[in-house]
Symmetry: D2
Subunit: 342 residues, 4 copies
């Protein structure tokens, strides 16, 4: 049986990535694509790499007929997303890729995003979309909030360690190298090739990155006490991938065991042999996350490194994984493609 | 029904690409992988991006048991390839990705490759693997010779035009921009990141590139008279993709019509609307080839531009397409994945 | 003696390149910098790589005091440039980096740039700034028009050959690989890192690129008859550099001799040994242009390849070279720095 | 007065960088270049970007006539360097760019480099070449040991803070993003463009990188007690630059003041305004080091980020700066060129 799918906000990178993934999915059929600024254009005009596909023309959201649609992916900017989703049919299954429903606390949302939440009932209803840790809730959810791509990477590295009480909660340092597609297709000077190529710089230094709201929420929840990590993302000259190098205090071998155990049955999270660590070039274009643990020369300190593709496992792949669960399909359907290397 | 597959020379980029593609193919099962210099290692050690797959350990070729194997892909260096294939069971179906069986004339082989051919009977038997033009022969072939990646790109642009007598045969100039994976995983100074990044240079200038042997053979065959093109490849700082900009004399609109007609039913060759032209970023990781035609400001001159991924449509994807035909499977099986962008 | 310099339009890449070059020049002193959209900011804010320099704050053009200024570089967009220069003191020496004064014929200007020229007297006065060929005129000029970066590259390869009658004038094909800084710091989707990296595509295909106006004008002038070349630029994922691969009909050895003779005394144009050809990675950040000639396998055909840095020899370095002449300084002063490699 | 210079090991990247820098130095003259594996070749053959220079042909070291040479730069591999320098005239001034004389303790050398030191007298004589902190010793030294490029970056960020007792000595975490030229021109698989481009990975994780020997030595010296930092370098797809993100415990404002005070008179170390932080794209090709301090959201924690060009300030520029001092020349001579951007 084929499920009918809409993608709202299909003219951005996460929208295009959803189309790429769904084009290889045996049970999903894209019946509507919206992109207000590009309404009337074909996807081939906006994304020529999709020209081989037979896809609906981009429309305005208000022109989408939601009757008959089983599930909508919402790849809109935050704030816009809550406004749009508020007006969608209440029976429609939705996977939202924006930041609007990630934080459960309206005050936390306003603190990190600067505007009051205008759909607090939906915020309360939404399930946090980190599939490996919210699988059962997601299966029965109507509205799932996709996680931040950095937030996903960091949590895959550390969440089981915090849950196990295996690391010092007051001294967690997360240092991320992030490829540029995470910033979207927006026209900003620092995203130009001439600026970024041969460059590398930190951004949102000092605890100002919005994904900290997710880390605070989830790590505190898991730990049963407030946890505040230190988190510094860096922009590097690559298109896809996040490499999270996490500095923690704990026994490296024990941490490795906790992770191996936690992810033993996970199809997408691969824990490397002890002492090995991942590269973003080995997960590109796939839904896999590689995690490695290395002991520091000083006893009691370890480095935990995770790598994933921000557009796939970090957003659109994760979204499809959640949609599979919500539609009662096999969780891995359409998601087992191997990474593209080189 | 599942067919049993061996990949000989699996430790190079084309070998890894075959594994990537076959891992998503519903009817093929990899039962043997050889790589003499890496024998005894797992593919995860040689190519960590494949670590999620359950694959045979790399062995030496002489340790492969060919009984029960339906088809072997041979991704070995030229010269080695003919030596190895000479010793394989004569009933084994083989798709060879090397240059050893592309040229039908032993003298031409020796001219371009510098060594006499030692398997002229196999050379005579082999079918040239440019699927779209040798489809029927490939279906019944035992040994198919994969084309050069540059040779494939150029032929997709020009072959129908030459066949139709639509362009001046004495003034064909092919200017190619080639990504670096076409040079393989070999340790050469000019393939280092520090050398290639921020660089761009021509190579094999003046008619010395070996793929000219294929152009001469095929274009002369199609034209029914000798044709010698001018061909200059350039190495650019990208990993995958070939962009062939071809300068020809003929009526641009007529050329576009010839190509549209020639490829109307082809699943992988996409002719763009007249006046549009392709980019390698729109075919990366896929088996598609995009072709465009633009008229020059001077009447009677046209630019025909083709783009494909050298590792996919230019070698391993083409090889799988041919294998599908040889095994009586649907030609597109396992090959319809969308390009990866960005 | 130190000459006082103003740079109008200092907030773009060519403006920043002028500052970089002049900062190492012993006889020039920057006393005014304008950049209307960034007026009030320091150069360190706009270009942090210049933070070690003691520079004037960016002002609006109308706030620049031109008394005491010996020479102004004008790095403004075309059309704006002619408007601004029309209002500058008539005694001020000016090197204009825009396209406004490159074409001598107002009709040609309007044809290629779409707007009528509003300063035809200045257009008539301006000297074309290809130093190696207009040196004497430039020495006594008040207004010099910097050439297009592609136009410079192509002319360094072919101008002496056309002048010598050494090549077929009706069959010149120029194929260029251009780095992205040539497009400036403008916010366009195709200049984003995520779009350009791992990409390569032609643009302005078919004879629509504006630099053709310069080729037509200069090559026809040199040949004494109309010459129309075929010219296709390609955008490649690199920041600096133009590689021009030119396909011509003529005797390769003879062409090499013509070029060696023409450039024997030129400090910046280096003709490579016969059969060798250049790479853009070997001229980056310098004012050098490397030129090579290779014979094609078909007698009577040759490939002439030139490489230069579009921001240096292609625009700001050329501009400084011209300014040196206009100020009666040694032509090479401040310009002999070695390329940056890797 | 001009000083005569030899460069031993001129065929690597640091050797070429020395030539680039010295070519713009008014008081130094290169009279000998050695490169054993390339002896007999011109520098233009080995490094075509230097073809405009009139340079000695590469010779074998044993063929260099050291009479009349004032100073030799030694850019040889470690272990080779000590063997070669042991045999050089004892009156020759030497700046060594290898690791052989950085560590004062022979046991520490053997621990980090795996081989016993065979020139312990020279080891005792050598002055550690971090100019800003050993200036007086360098002026009178005969043998100066250039620092590791990572070691330089980290020390510029932290050394004044440790000296001032401003940070917790037991919790220093240094996370580095390193461009690939730091690995030299060696033929290794992970340095290939196809492997590194679109990749990013940590290396020498867990305290195994040899530059830790320098950190341990210098930081312990400054602190007056043993200091062991945690240090993780990452390889990123760029050619030049090191970005060191350092996580420390201390008052961010106070740290900024310490650094501003320490570097107030330094020509090459630029402390950014509080809260700003650097990018490697803004120091490329220059001898500048940019340092920034940002407060973390948690009081008492700060991020100190330093950026420099590994080939310039991290090795060859530093070496020239030291040579200037040893030859009683102005320290900044030949080193004030602006960074190349973009």
């Amino acid at each position: 049986m084929t499920h009918k799918i809409a993608i709202l906000g299909a003219s951005g990178y996460t929208g295009a990535e959803l189309v790429r993934l769904i084009s290889g999915h045996p049970s999903l059929d894209i019946v509507a694509l919206s992109g207000n600024s590009k309404a009337g254009q074909s996807m081939a005009q906006v994304f020529p790499h999709l020209r081989h596909l037979d896809l609906p023309v981009l429309t305005r959201i208000e022109d989408v007929d939601f009757s008959g649609i089983d599930l909508a992916f919402c790849a809109l900017p935050h704030k816009t997303s809550q406004e749009v989703i508020s007006k969608l049919p209440k029976t429609l299954k939705i996977v939202d890729l924006s930041a609007d429903f990630r934080l459960r606390d309206p005050a936390a949302y306003e603190k990190w995003y600067g505007n009051p939440h205008t759909a607090v009932d939906l915020q309360a209803e939404a399930v946090y979309g980190l599939t490996e840790f919210y699988r059962d809730d997601i299966k029965s959810a109507r509205l799932v909030a996709g996680t931040g791509c950095n937030a996903a990477t960091g949590q895959f590295a550390l969440r089981p360690l915090i849950a196990a009480g295996a690391i010092d909660l007051d001294d967690i340092i997360m240092d991320l190298a992030c490829a540029v597609s995470g910033a979207g297709r927006s026209l900003k000077e620092n995203l130009l090739h001439a600026e970024l190529s041969e460059g590398a710089h930190a951004y949102a230094v000092g605890g100002t990155h919005r994904h900290l709201g997710e880390f605070d929420q989830e790590f505190s929840l898991v730990a049963g006490r407030p946890v505040e990590v230190q988190f510094t993302p860096h922009l590097i000259p690559a298109n896809r991938g996040i490499l999270a190098t996490n500095y923690v205090k704990g026994d490296a071998q024990a941490l490795h065991s906790v992770l191996e155990h936690a992810y033993a049955d996970e199809p997408f999270i691969k824990v490397l042999p002890f002492g090995e660590h991942p590269s973003i070039r080995h997960i590109r274009g796939s839904n896999f996350c590689h995690v490695g643990v290395v002991a520091d020369r000083r006893a009691g300190r370890a480095i935990v490194i995770a790598a994933l593709d921000n557009l796939t496992k970090g957003s659109s792949g994760q979204a499809l994984q959640n949609a599979n669960l919500m539609l009662n399909l096999p969780e891995t359907e359409g998601l087992m493609m191997a990474p593209l290397f080189p």
